[in-house]
């Protein structure tokens, strides 16, 4: 049976202890609700990329936590983020995922219109609101704009809460993975291209995020897919040119020694990346013309440093994960305590041969698609956790592999630490951040936490 203790800050605090996480963090709808109202409001969360909205009036919509948002290109060229909620009766203003709104947004219900910065533009039969009080109430002020928006190389992050750390402070040196992704473009620019895969995972969002730096699972969970690829390819002569698909799949069979030696770098606030020293992306073949273009743009030394940095997955906590070496990102969008939408996006490196985008698309199809033989086994394992956690005797998920006394003191002092690749420190670090941002309102605005409602 699931615990039925009423949820409060003390209960949230008790869900994480000594490298273990209570099952309620994964299976309790009340905890999920708390995550949506607190964690996803207090953290800096990825919304979209500004290449998706190049022209004035272009918009892209997505939810952060349970908050519907619009990211729109203003006439002055800046990116604005507005709440996707008509100021009048609360209708979701824009239903399409993306499009162009022209010079203003217009509600489909009563035709209230709003400027691209959210200001109320017009209301039909305006004389019906002659009462001077209208201007001062929320409806009269238009669409609420999100104040804390950061644009980092086109990656748009928002913090919905008025309180909390600044963008740079929140991510720190973890931003170097975005630097690496963008640095792989000879023009220093990337753009979303190649389509979006949408794979429904009937599991808690955190299981997916934890798995990104879990180097103990590939040789087990992916034995059937990568192992079969290896067996099939074993019949080929040693020097036979590998099809791209085989080249991308084979490294998933690397064993424990390789996984451990990859190394994982951990940053405060839940961020980390695997593949500090090496990764499964290290052995891909050269794409003609690319290295020369990068050297011409950056110089020999910097270009080679960028290419040699083959980080595997970077987790930008809570729910953005990127693979800079193949220009693929995945966003875990929580829907319910046991439902998560995983979106996979690919990026074009501007100024680079199109063959790189082709490789990104191939990678995303083979590894991230709802048809992926790799993804099927991952999801099977997450689902197994979602179901297995209902067993009563042991309510704790264990994340103690390579746990060390004082590891968080060291992390905070140094700004980042490198651990062996198979350590579960990245997951302990995620829950350290989880607690901090789950409880931030209890610390900063206790009345909000008590009411359990966002202002």
């Amino acid at each position: 049976m699931q615990t039925t203790t009423p949820l409060d800050a003390g209960r949230i605090r008790g869900l994480v202890r000594d490298g273990q996480v209570h099952r309620d963090a994964y299976i309790s709808p009340a905890v999920f609700d708390w995550e949506m109202r607190h964690l996803f409001r207090n953290a800096w969360v990825f919304l979209g990329h500004d290449s998706q909205i190049p022209a004035a009036g272009d918009y892209y919509t997505a939810d952060i936590g349970n908050t519907p948002l619009i990211m729109v290109r203003h006439a002055d060229g800046s990116v604005r983020v507005l709440h996707n909620r008509c100021a009048h009766k609360g209708a979701r203003l824009v239903s399409a995922e993306c499009g162009n709104s022209g010079k203003f947004f217009r509600c489909p219900y009563h035709a209230w219109t709003f400027k691209l910065d959210g200001d109320l533009l017009s209301v039909p039969l305006k004389q019906g609101y002659a009462d001077p009080g209208f201007k001062d109430c929320p409806a009269g002020k238009g669409l609420a704009a999100v104040r804390h928006v950061a644009n980092y190389h086109g990656f748009i992050f928002v913090r919905l809460s008025e309180h909390g750390p600044g963008f740079e402070e929140y991510f720190g040196d973890a931003l170097s993975s975005i630097d690496n992704l963008v640095g792989r473009s000879p023009e220093g620019k990337v753009e979303v291209a190649g389509g979006v895969l949408r794979y429904l995972h009937d599991c808690n969002w955190k299981m997916f995020i934890e798995n990104l730096n879990d180097a103990m699972h590939p040789m087990v969970a992916h034995e059937s897919s990568a192992g079969t690829a290896k067996t099939l390819w074993a019949d080929q002569p040693v020097d036979a040119p590998k099809p791209m698909a085989i080249e991308l799949l084979l490294p998933f069979t690397e064993g424990y020694a390789f996984s451990d030696a990859m190394g994982t770098r951990v940053f405060p606030n839940g961020h980390s990346y695997s593949g500090v020293n090496a990764s499964i992306h290290g052995g891909y073949s050269d794409i003609p013309g690319y290295e020369a273009a990068l050297v011409a743009a950056h110089g020999e030394e910097k270009a080679h440093a960028i290419l040699a940095d083959v980080r595997h997955n970077t987790v930008y906590y809570p729910n953005l994960t990127i693979k800079c070496a193949v220009q693929v990102i995945r966003i875990a969008r929580p829907i319910a305590v046991d439902r998560t939408l995983i979106e996979s996006w690919t990026f074009r490196l501007k100024g680079a041969p199109e063959a790189l985008l082709d490789r990104s698309c191939t990678y995303s199809r083979l590894i991230n698609a709802p048809t992926s033989v790799v993804g099927h086994d991952d999801l099977h394992c997450y689902r197994a956790i979602q179901e297995g956690l209902r067993a009563d005797p042991n309510p704790w998920v264990n994340l103690q592999r390579n746990q060390e006394a004082g590891e968080f003191d060291t992390l905070r002092q140094q700004g980042s630490t490198v651990v062996n690749g198979t350590s579960e420190m990245s997951m302990r670090n995620q829950f350290d951040a989880w607690q901090r941002y789950m409880l931030a309102d209890a610390v900063q605005a206790p009345e909000r936490a008590l009411e359990g409602a966002a202002p």
Partner: protein, 166 residues
Amino acid sequence: MNASDATDTLAPLDPVEFLYHEARLLDDGALPAWLALFADDGLYWMPLRREQREDDIHTSLLREDPLLLRLRIERLHAPRAFSQQPASRCHHVLQRPRLEAEDGSRGEYRLRTEFSYTEVRGNERYVTAGTARHHLVTVDGRLRILRKRVDLIDGEGVLPSIQLFP
């Protein structure tokens, strides 16, 4: 009927009958026999978008030559294919395939088939519909699949695991 009944039947020479036969092999789980219907340079392609063309640089749901299809089929039967415990089953309901182009002298045909597709595994069920386009060629007197393009009605939507072949 069991899988071997279908496997033992040679693929028909009539292109429409050939497509019924193909669907039957898939639904019977006779996947090696299904794979043998493909030409050596054949391709099974499930794009993400209806507008997608074969040479576009764009992500697809599935795009596999006989080597990758063989990998997928052998993996389904691997003892540690955990996502196949329990195993998936599928079922196609085909509208009558329409012959869109033919070159009888070369034994080459292009057909379009509307279909409904159901895939089940344990208590999970995925039901969809779509359009299949086949490009069949004749190799050594037998029909073979050079291209099979499958456009799902919800290809760009939110999809669960699809483990077999719509």
